[in-house]
Every structure is written in C-alpha cells, then in structure tokens.
C-alpha cells in the first residue's frame, strides 16, 4: 500500500460571529486524509493539555446475531498492543508521559480518548495510529481470552451483581424485535462472549475499523497547522479500507402493552415504563427531553412532586429520552417505598401523564427546564478531554450531523420549544402501547403491576 502524502481540506471554520453574541461556538478546523480519515482540530490554550479523541462509527448496533457484545470486547482488545506497541505498552507509555485514557462502546459508536500533557501530543498520535493501522499484527488467542474474562467480570459487576442490573437487558428484549440490533445489550450475553474468536476480531477490524469509518478530534493547547502535519505523519500510512454501509434509522412500534415481572435480590420494587420514540436529533427528540424534564427533573417536576414530595410513596423517580441513532426509548423509572405496590405507583404516573396530555405545562415549567439545560451546555465547555468533554462532543456532533460545532444548533432545538410542543409529544408518544416491567423482591410478585390488565 503506497503511503498517502496529501490531505484534502474539507472545511475551514473560523469565528465569524461578533464576540458580544451569546452564540455558543467551538471553533475548529477539519480535514480528511486520503485514506478517508477525518481529523478535527480545536485550539484551547487555557491549560497545557491535549485530548486525542477517536470515534469509530460502529457499536453493538452493527453486531451479528450470535456475537452480541463483540463491539465492546473489541474495544478492550484495542488496548492490548499493535505492531509497534507490545502488549501492556499502550498504557505504560502513555502514563510515563503523564497521560491517561479510556474507551467506551454503546449501540452506535465506540470512542477512545487519550488525555495528555500538550508537550507529549505525539505519544497518543503514535499509539492511536498504530492500532488503527496494525492492530492485528500483535493479536494472539491468549489476548482475546484474557479480555474475554475481563469483560465477563464487567458484566458480573455492572449487571449480574448489581441490584436491578438485569432490568435493562429485559427491557431491550421487550421493546425491540429479535432481529433489531437494539434488542440485545451492548455488554452481550455470556454465551456469545464465550464464542468470540480471533477470526471474528480480524473480520470486525477490517470491516468496521476502516479510517473512513473513523474521526479523530485533537483538542487543547495545540497549533492547528502543526497538528495537521502531525496527523499526516502518523495517520497517512493507515491503509484505506472499503466503505461501510450507512446507518439507517429503524424506529419500532409496539402493537400492544407488554407487562413483564422480574424477581431480584432487592428490598424495594421498581417500576419501569418505556415507549418507543424517534431517534437522536429527529424532530420530536428535543421536546421529549423537555417532557422528561417537566416530569422528573427537580423537586417541582410533576412526578417527583407527586410521588416523592407529596405522597411519599416513592424513593426516587427518573424520566429520560434515551436518544440513539436507530431509535430512541422514552423511559420512566420509579422505586416504590416499602408498603406500596407498583400498581399504585403506575396509577399515579399514568394520572400525571394524562394531565400533561390534557393541558400543556406552564411556561415557567418549560423555562425552568430550558434554563437548566442551557447551563449544562456551558458546563460541557469547561473540559477539553475525557468522556463528554469538548473533544468528545465535537466528535459526537460530527458523527450525527457532519458539523462538529453543532452546539448552537443543538441548543436552538430547545430554545424554540413551546409548552404546546411538550403536550404534543406526550400525546403522540406516551401511548397505551408500551413496556411495563415490574422488578420485585424475590417471592413478592404481588407487588408487581398485574400481568393481565385489569
């Protein structure tokens, strides 16, 4: 494979908005190498640190049946060495210059970051490019076995040995048909983790870890022109590979209400209500976030005030629009206090939903949510690296919209909401067709929402 020696300029973003404007802006430069890798640079000179943040546009949503959990197992293998990086050296070499790293996998993407002192920028560039180009050269069956054990322990720690930990897995199965990739959990099943082979690793790497299916953000105390040179130095030799098929949203609908009951080693019963909703950034997505806020964010939210503050029949309540690329889920979770059944809780929750379907929330309720949400945007701009720092967000927006600096547009989705929009999505999406899961203490099925609707 010949080494590619040019970069093509995709877009040069510059500050064009007056400083007085409250517009949120994260200036960046973007270019694409000939092998298809997109590189995004953001200068922030406020601290002598740099973050190298890489997204591969593959998550558990691209897995095959029989290999659930593979995208995440693969993420673990990315830290186990590559052609020029012996096993264990990825972390040792990075720590030796004061850097740290992590990675995560969800249904849609896998991300990796290395945060380092800015003077050591080339160390993460070397490590990240070496595994992007040459991961398979250093991979052995023993490495796969070792990380398989680690991931199985991650599953035990985060799901099996955690109260209510298995609920999420049951919910996905109930919400999505078996051939929908969101029907299985990102952590995978023990059986499939056991079945994963070194051949699977090679196939997955070649198919999904192509430079054209990745984007790298380099953010922090750097000079953009110099970063461009370094990106070419380290990443241009990564071989181009075949393009991957685009992600096509695949929303689902339920034909009827599904009621499920699970027993767990818990003291208190917990109710989960879930509805299918449109994907991340789809038109209703922001209004559903606002609905979640009006329902369960803060002491004055409808559900908290009714269930926890006034009636004191619940210990906690949450509502979330769980946004994702193929389809989203709107989720309400309530833990009942001792002496209260989930049927009682369900009645209260449904009454509050019905109230929001009858009448829009007050403008103060919506504004309270919007002000909180806007403040959370400022918070995200305080940090360059890690999960959810500026580098990660630039990659998130690039992945989902093609525009890394989508901060202002994202916020505008919320600023434009009216109370009637919140009522509208409550009516349209919080329908009788939903998943109702009761998790109850062992042997106490009488605390559940009855499986046959009364």
């Amino acid at each position: 494979m010949g080494l590619l020696s040019t970069v093509s300029l995709l877009l040069l973003a510059q500050a064009t908005v007056p400083a007085a404007s409250p517009r949120l802006e994260v200036p960046y430069k973007i270019f694409r190498l000939e092998n298809g890798l997109t590189v995004i640079v953001h200068e922030d000179r406020s601290a002598p640190i740099v973050s190298v943040n890489t997204w591969y546009h593959v998550g558990s949503g691209r897995e095959k049946l029989g290999r659930t959990g593979f995208a995440h197992l693969f993420e673990h293998l990315m830290f186990e060495g590559s052609r020029n990086v012996p096993e264990g050296a990825f972390d040792r070499w990075l720590e030796a210059v004061g850097g740290n790293n992590n990675g995560s996998t969800n249904t849609d993407r896998t991300n990796y970051w290395e945060d380092a002192p800015a003077n050591a920028l080339e160390v993460p560039l070397f490590l990240e490019s070496d595994r992007m180009a040459y991961l398979l050269d250093n991979l052995t069956p023993e490495t796969v076995d070792g990380q398989r054990d680690v991931v199985k322990n991650e599953r035990r720690q985060s799901y099996e040995n955690r109260p209510y930990g298995m609920a999420e897995i049951e919910l996905s199965k109930a919400m999505f048909p078996p051939d929908h990739p969101y029907s299985w959990p990102t952590i995978g099943s023990m059986e499939d983790l056991s079945a994963a082979s070194q051949e699977d690793v090679a196939e997955f790497f070649k198919k999904w870890y192509a430079p054209g299916n990745a984007s790298v953000v380099i953010a922090g105390d750097v000079d953009a022109a110099r970063v461009r040179e370094l990106a070419v130095t380290w990443f241009a030799e990564v071989p181009a590979r075949a393009a991957v098929e685009p992600i096509i949203p695949r929303p689902v609908a339920l034909a009827e209400e599904k009621r499920l009951v699970m027993e767990d080693k818990v003291q208190l019963p917990r109710l989960y209500l879930q509805w299918p909703t449109p994907p991340y950034l789809a038109p209703a997505d922001a209004a559903l976030d606002a609905l979640a806020g009006v329902l369960a964010s803060g002491k004055n939210s409808r559900l908290y005030k009714k269930l926890v503050y006034d009636l004191q029949v619940a210990q906690d309540v949450s509502a979330t629009q769980e946004s994702a690329a193929l389809a989203s889920v709107f989720s309400i979770v309530v833990t009942a206090r001792a002496g209260h059944t989930l049927e009682e809780i369900r009645g209260h929750v449904d009454a509050e939903i019905a109230a929001l379907q009858r009448e829009a929330p007050s403008s103060r309720e919506l504004e309270r949510f919007l002000n909180q949400h806007e403040a959370s945007f400022y918070d995200r701009l305080e940090r360059v690296g890690g999960f959810g720092g500026k580098a990660d967000l630039l990659n998130n927006y690039f992945f989902h919209t093609g525009n890394p600096d989508y901060f202002e547009e994202d916020l505008a989705r919320y600023r434009s909401l009216a109370p009637s929009d919140v009522r509208a999505v409550a009516l349209r999406f919080l329908r009788p067709e939903r998943v109702v899961l009761s998790v109850v203490p062992e042997g106490k099925r009488e605390l559940a929402v009855p499986e046959v609707k009364r």
Partner: protein
Amino acid sequence: MTRTSRLLALRLLALAGTLTLSASAVWAGADRSRPPSPEPPRPLTLPAVTSHTLQNGLPVRMAPMREVPVVEVVLVIRAGAAADPLDRPGLASMVADMLDEGAGGSDALQLADAVDFLGADLSTGASWDATTIRLHVPVSRLGEALGLMADVAQRPAFGSADLERLRREALTGILQARDQPRRIAALALARAVFGKAHRYGLPLDGDAPSVASFQTSDLQRFHADYYHPENAGLVVAGDVDAATLLPLLERSFGAWPRGRGASTAMPAPRQLRERRVVLVDRPGAAQSVLRLGRVGPPRDTPNQVEIEVMNTLLGGSFTSRLNDNLREQHGYSYGAFSGFDYRRVAGAFQAASDVQTSVTADALREFVKELTRIRTRASAEEVERARNYLAYGYAQDFETTRQMAARLAEQWLYGLPEDTFSTFVPRALAVGGAQVEATARGIIDPGKLAIVIVGDRSKVEGGVAALGLGPIDVLTVDDLLGPAPRLDEPPGR
C-alpha cells in the same frame, strides 16, 4: 436529522472545499521504532488566587477563570461527620441535607423552583471534616443565586414535616444498602478497621437508630454551634473579578452574624495490631467484593506527595501493580485499585476489587502478595512512570471551575501551605525508589490489615480458609447492619 441527510451535507461540504494541501515535501514517515519523545514540559500556570475578608471576618479565596461564563462558589463549614455528637451519628449529614428544604422564608419547593429557574446547581453535603454548600451558576445569574445560597447557609427552616420526609428517605436508603454488595463491603471494612467505638467505624450518614432519633432541635443546635463566619470559608472560581464579586458577597454573606469559634476534636483511631478477616455471606452472588484496609495518614501528613507516588504504583493508575495483576494478567476482575482517604484526624487506606466468585481465594492471595511486595524496592522504570503520571497529569486537576474551587476549599479546610499546588510537580518528580519503599513500609503492613469479603460463603469460605490468613469472622448481612428497618407504615404515624 437522519443519516441520509447527514451524508448529503458532507458531500456538499466536500464539493465546496476542493482545496488540496500538499504535505509531501516535509513528510518523512513516522518513526515507530520507539515511543516519541515528548517536547520539554510546559509550565502549569494556575490562576492568580487572591484572598479577601468580608466585614464579618468571613475569609474569601478567589481564582479568576475566564474561559466559560460560569462561576463556582463553595462555602466550607469546618464541621462534618467527625463533629457528630457521639449518640447522634449522621447528624451533620442530615443538617446538610435539610439546609435546602426550605430557607429564608421560602419552602422547599419555592426554593428549588428559584434555583432551577436560574439554571443554577445548588447542592449541600457533609464529609468527615466539613459541610459544603456548592453553587454553580451562569455568571449572569450570580447575584440572584448568591442570595439563595446565603438563605440556605444562614436561614434554613428545619421544618418538622421536612425532617420527617427526609428521615423516611434516609431510612429507606439505609434499607436499600442491603441490596448493594459494595456498600455492604464499605460498611464492613470501616467496622473492621476502626471498630464500633470510633466514629469512623459507623457510616458517615448514620445508622437507622440514630437517623430515627433526630429532632429538629438537634439540627438547630448543630447549625447554631458550627455555621458562622468564624468557622467557615468561601472559595470562588470562575468568570468574575474581585471588584464585581466582593460587593455581591458582602451583600449575601457579609452580614452573617458572628458566632463562637467551634472545636471538633476527635480521638485518633488506633492502628490494627493483627490481621482480621471478615466474610459477609451473600448467597448466590455472582462476584465477591474484596476490600482490604487499615488506618491511614491524615491530610496534613508531610509526605503526602510520596504516598501518592507510592499509591500510583500500587493501585492508583491503570498500569498499577494491582490492576495489572488482577485484571490484565489474571482476568479475575474488571479492575483493581487502591487509595487513601485523608482526613483531619488520620484517614483510611483501602485496596479493592470485585472478583469472579470462583477465583476469590486466588485474588486475595494476589492482593496480599502485592501489599507485601510494595514494601520492597520497585524498578526504576515503575517509579519513574508513577511519578511522571502524577506530576505531568497534575494540570488536569485544575481544568474546570468545579475542580479549582474544590482544590482551594481543600487547601483552606486543612490549612495547607500556600505553595501546596505550585510545588506539587517538582516534589513528585523528586521521589525516588528508596522513598517509595520507605513510605510503603511506614503505612502498609499486610500482617496488620482488615480483609473483607462480601460473597457466597458456600463457594468461597474453604478456599479463603486454606490461605491461612487467620480466623474468619463470618457474618450475615443482618449481623452487620442489624435487622432491616420496618418502613411500611404510612408516613406521619
């Protein structure tokens, strides 16, 4: 936005930007034969911290940080759980939790509405040594938010109905701790290290009998004793200068009446003199939660930097010996770590991992091996990596307003020297192998150690016994936590 239109947008951008850069003239390929050598380190320039005093004597430390239009304000009260009356463990926490349940003439809902409407985050909480009230707010709303923060600190209502509500919440939380093997393990370890007679041996937020006993008069007395300017400090980090900030602080905190100085003396815990093994039975558990600990040094220990370098090597980083051994070499666990919790009076050391049930004894053997090996000379490469990781990663601890304010609060609370932050990097870089070894010998002793296992007794007891670590004290969850509190009566009866 759908994926389809996103691709379209990309294609349009590509057409618009057809400029091609030629970088071939200077490109000579990457040298992958060794990791790249870093350039010389760049100095860590911290914001210039200034000190001020309000009319009533309340000290203020502030650090301007202008990147993002937000401000973090922390009021530190020099009284936490260590100041709880002996028969009221958890009182400091309950007082902190009650501060924002109505204050300054507003009830809990009105107060929450006002705070949320400003886009502010106002939180209260107690640690062992302090109660903190934290405000994080867009700078445009700072003045209004400070007024609410001042109400919460100075004029809490401590209403009896609100206390009953939070009491039920807290008792329910204590009930739920039984579900959580990690919380069970934390309580068992504190009990084993410090004993029932020392405050540190009981949970920071109290136990069921204590929480059930609190009266509003207890809360009022604690507040009157400790919440006043002589016993408090303010720190501020964010997008504001002193000329703007100080008048706002005077208005909200400058008229806070003075009180008496308050002392919160507490006896130092005694170090363990033997090894104790506690097994808490959780039949059917998928993993064993392992915790090993002993009494640790206080925050003002003179060799804190050396301790941190030693701990980085032992269990404070991904490549540390514990994580490398238990996770990477053996695959016993998702991770293993160690750390020090420094307090005003002594502290706590612990090493921890959650391991697969079938390898419980093997994992414990490796833990004890590592806690023994840390007392011998480490390789130069390990020591250098640990000290570089700490020293060159230090800038990341000061990036956000929350981080900066937390560091300033810690410095004020423990009376740490002015140059604590500015000298950290050179001090860490000066730590060598001999100091790491001596430091470990001074504070880690695998023979005088508490070992807690929360897991399935029927599957793990035999293997643990065969390790010969000493007699095993087997407990049920009820033995450890007492019987589950009965909470199913309706509220108010």
